[in-house]
């Protein structure tokens, strides 16, 4: 008798995985026959909860899953997904996916990985389940919540649970879910509530309360984000204008080739990146390396321009304007001949990609954040150079009174050259920053020259503080207007406002006072 029982037990033991095998294998039917069928298979696998589905679905997501004409599904390592045995790969082709399959994959992988030992995988899974809510998720999420200890993941799981409960039939849970979603401050939560409102007229008032709560938090966040966007645009304007604040503001040279120096800086960044490409450990640091390189290249170009041409035209602004305009065109054409008319790709290092999310859900893109930091850095650099160095002292002396400075033994010609080179070098630094957000093309500079002059004139010629305030004001005003007026009209409005402002205060925001300014 006992032997019989043992035999029965053994038979069951053998049959158990076989039965599971069968359900898993039969769930695979239809995979790769069409996007609709593939999506259904993915959903079935997600519902089955068999861990063998995880590598299979991941392979499908990466386009590594293959299917033979006979319908056998092969894993990337060549095994048959249904049996686990090595399969025959003749004629196998990759299973293609589209957005619908990708959406199903995200939900299915999320459900399968809710209990993963890896915290990062669990966090992503909670996020994925939140984005594909379904009543079947409720028990899964309850189980996951019971085990979860990480507070961040718990919060995300709670949201996912609420989203799924909204779709389920339990009225009490649903009411609770509406209240919990109201504590989130995401557009996704609001979208879920708006959708649920039509289906649940009995909960309409509770849903409206939750939506209003979300709206309130979103409004604050929107204001902060608009401010950030304005500061980001402002920091770009500041970078582009700082060089001009030195050459035009301090020296009074109308340098129409300023934009081309910015462009040269961007190309210098490109060249440094190409040089670093061959050295693997150096490649991620090509951007910081490009900062001094771009400064040197454009500073040398600026010094050459000043010594070769501009110094012969001091005191003749019209001729300087025309000459520098011509020089700008020559630089543009030269770059076009050397690098081609096509845009050049400057890749962003990984630490500048993606979004940084702050508490409260305020999201800021990394590249813009770094540019703001860089803008502040360059501004401090300029202030320090002018205030605390011998060169800065001589520069201020020459600007205030050239003759007396010369009698004190300052070589004014050299100071002129160095000041102009310094301003041009700053333009090169702007080019490094712009290479991250704009197209590196020979026309890069033309888009910024007008804006730069605008900032300097608006802020007050010769005043660094004016340049700073001017750039930030223009950036923020532009971004605040944009949602109402559109990108094109916002710019027009800003231009008109500046024209009116200059009529009233021709010297800009921070007008210099005193005898030196009058002359």
């Amino acid at each position: 008798m006992r032997r019989h029982l043992l035999g029965l037990f053994l038979a069951l033991l053998l049959a158990w995985p076989a039965a599971a095998q069968d359900r898993f294998a039969s769930a695979l039917a239809g995979l790769g026959e069409g996007f609709g069928q593939t999506a259904e298979v993915v959903e079935r696998l997600g519902a089955l909860g068999d861990p063998r589905a995880i590598p299979l679905l991941q392979a499908l997501q990466d386009g590594q899953l293959r299917r033979t004409p006979a319908g056998t599904v092969l894993l990337p390592d060549g095994r048959d997904a249904a049996t686990g045995q090595p399969g025959d790969a003749t004629g196998a082709e990759a299973v293609r996916i589209n957005n619908r399959v990708r959406q199903a994959l995200r939900g299915a992988l999320g459900r399968l990985q809710l209990l993963s030992p890896d915290a990062e995988a669990r966090r992503q899974a909670a996020e994925a389940v939140f984005r594909s809510p379904a009543p079947e998720n409720v028990p899964l999420l309850d189980a996951a919540l019971a085990k979860e200890t990480d507070p961040g993941i718990r919060a995300q799981l709670e949201l996912a649970l609420a989203a799924s409960q909204l779709r389920a039939d339990d009225a009490a849970a649903k009411r609770d879910a509406v209240a919990r979603l109201g504590t989130a401050a995401t557009t996704e939560a609001r979208a879920l509530l708006i959708e649920a409102r039509a289906a649940n007229p009995d909960l309409a008032t509770a849903i409206d309360v939750s939506i209003a709560a979300i709206e309130q938090r979103l409004a604050v966040r929107r204001a902060v984000e608009t401010l950030f966007q304005g500061l980001s645009l402002g920091s770009v304007l500041l970078l582009a204008a700082l060089g001009l604040a030195v050459t035009f503001g301090v020296m009074g040279v109308i340098n129409m080739a300023h934009g081309e120096f910015v462009m040269l800086g961007a190309y210098a960044t490109f060249v440094v990146q190409e040089l670093c490409r061959g050295i693997p450990w150096l490649a991620p640091w090509s951007l910081p390396l490009a900062v001094p390189a771009a400064f040197l290249v454009t500073a040398l170009a600026g010094a050459a321009l000043e010594r070769g041409l501009i110094r012969h035209l001091y005191g003749r602004p019209l001729e300087t304007l025309l000459m520098t305009f011509g020089v700008g065109m020559i630089i543009q054409q030269a770059v076009r001949l050397a690098f081609g008319a096509q845009n050049r790709e400057v890749t962003s290092p990984s630490w500048m990609q993606g979004t940084l999310t702050f508490p409260g859900g305020i999201a800021m893109t990394q590249n813009r954040l770094w540019i703001i930091v860089f803008g502040i850095f360059v501004l401090l650099l300029v202030v320090a150079a002018i205030r605390f160095t011998r060169f800065g002292l001589e520069m201020r002396a020459v600007v205030q009174n050239r003759r007396i400075a010369a009698t004190m033994g300052i070589r004014t010609g050299r100071v002129d050259a160095m000041t102009f080179a310094f301003g041009s070098g700053l333009a090169g630094l702007a080019g490094v920053a712009l290479s991250q957000i704009d197209n590196v093309s020979p026309n890069l500079g033309t888009g910024y020259i007008i804006d730069s002059f605008m900032v300097v004139v608006f802020g007050g010629v010769g005043s660094l503080a004016g340049t700073l305030v001017g750039a930030l004001t223009l950036g923020v005003v532009n971004k605040v207007l944009e949602p109402y007026a559109g990108a094109v009209l916002a710019k027009v409005c800003v231009l008109v406002a500046i024209m009116l402002f200059i009529q009233r205060r021709p010297k800009g925001l921070f007008a210099l006072k005193g005898r030196a300014a009058e002359s």
């Binding site: 957005n99 557009t187 979208a191 770009v236 979004t355 990108a487």
Partner: protein, 414 residues
């Protein structure tokens, strides 16, 4: 600006000379008669250079290819390249130069509709012949222009229908983003009419325009996100042109807009434009065209081989407007053979009804309305910058250049 152009012409002529010398020793014995002149009117600098430079190279490739076959009617072909520098009035000047100074027999050129509108009166006045190889908004039919790109019913409408289908994600709200000029504005007007006819209210449509070369997309992309967060599945339809696409897609990637949530279908972004961007964050975003480099079949294999051999780079990509240039060029050659002369007056009628097995894998035909019958393909961006074709029409679709979704066209029915 115009002073720069002779350099380009001279350089192109020199490189043409170079390749002519490099041709195999068997020089075809050219029959009597001057060479047939082919004008090339594409921007080689400025904001559109990213898209148009490859089209200049395609025409030069076809000229070389035709000459290697013994030319047309036993006469050699000679390309005249000018650079209108993404400057719309300069397009008209350069078109006049091609027709009056160089006396070209046919011109291949233009990308943006604003440039085509700028040269149209010149071609009509001087009785020239222009092949325009890019998808456009329709609402035009010039006796002097042949349109080898798609009309709205061959690209924009099927693409939006796909977004609204089960496979495309059943979009219920649409964002129309475009560069501020005639093509996006007209296309979006047609699309709005179409969406309204499908029951999508104006409140569920967001429309925004930006200048050429726009680089600061953070505000607009954030607003799109917000619009999508007001319930209902949202999709973006992009008619952004030129190099503004690079910062736009970069911003989409940075702000984490995934194709599963908010798919973006583009009408002016192909393999060539994607060549300069990291496409990994963009996987799943869509483009609608009549040709993709990934189309299987012999005509496309031959086309790709011809291109990569000409450009001497096995990694260079092909795209839809290049295919349209190729198809137009082949049809023009066939029509010249049929007419027995390259004269515009004889070639124009001979072009109607010309057929060609195009690289897109379908037989295309030149219709009496100067447009082609073309298949419609929808592709998803892959990590390698190529497109995975997820939907296509069973047959070539006939072009309707006058859209039924524009009310003024109601009495234009023929």
């Amino acid at each position: 600006m115009s002073s720069t152009t002779p350099t380009f012409t001279r350089r192109a002529a020199l490189s043409g000379l170079g390749s002519a010398l490099a041709l195999p020793a068997i020089r075809p014995a050219w029959a009597q008669g001057a060479p047939i002149k082919i004008g090339v009117l594409h921007s080689l600098s400025g904001t559109m250079a990213i898209s148009e430079t490859a089209l200049r190279d395609t025409v030069l490739m076809m000229v070389e290819w035709a000459n290697a076959q013994g030319g047309v009617l036993g006469r050699k072909l000679e390309a005249v390249v000018v650079d209108p520098a993404s400057n719309w009035p300069l397009f008209a000047e350069k078109a006049r130069e091609l027709l009056q100074v160089h006396k070209v027999d046919v011109t291949f050129g233009c990308w943006t509709s604003v440039s085509r509108k700028s040269v149209l009166p010149v071609f009509e006045e001087l009785k020239g012949l222009l092949f325009y190889p890019v998808q456009y908004e329709g609402e035009e039919e010039s006796p002097n222009i042949f349109y080898t790109g798609a009309a709205p019913n061959q690209q924009a409408i099927p693409a939006v229908e796909y977004l609204m289908s089960a496979d495309g994600g059943e979009a219920k709200r649409i964002v129309l983003l475009g560069t501020d000029y005639v093509y996006p504005r007209t296309t979006n007007r047609i699309l709005r009419g179409f969406l309204n006819s499908k029951g999508i209210a104006n409140a569920d449509i967001m429309e925004e325009y930006t200048p050429f070369g726009h680089s600061d997309w953070q505000g607009i992309v954030a607003r799109v996100k917000r619009f999508a967060g007001e319930g209902k599945k949202t999709a973006i339809v992009s008619t952004i042109n030129g190099d503004a696409n690079v910062p736009f897609y970069r911003e989409l990637g940075n702000q984490g807009i995934k194709a599963e949530d908010i798919p973006c279908v583009a009408f002016s972004v192909g393999e060539e434009e994607l060549a300069g961007i990291d496409t990994r964050p963009l996987v799943g975003h869509l483009a609608a065209w009549n040709y993709f480099m990934s189309v299987p079949g012999t005509p496309n294999e031959e086309f790709k081989k011809l291109w990569q051999a000409y450009i001497k780079n096995p990694k260079r990509v092909t795209n839809d407007p290049m295919e349209a240039t190729y198809t137009g060029f082949r049809m023009w050659m066939q029509a010249v053979q049929k007419a027995g002369t390259p004269a515009v007056a004889q070639v124009t009628p001979a072009l109607i009804g010309q057929k060609l097995m195009a690289p897109c894998g379908f037989e295309e035909e030149m219709l009496p309305n100067h447009h082609l019958s073309k298949p419609v393909l929808i592709g998803e961006v892959q990590a390698d910058g190529q497109f995975n074709i997820v939907w296509k029409t069973p047959n070539a679709v006939k072009a309707e250049n006058w859209s039924p979704f524009i009310p003024e066209n109601a009495n234009r029915r023929r």
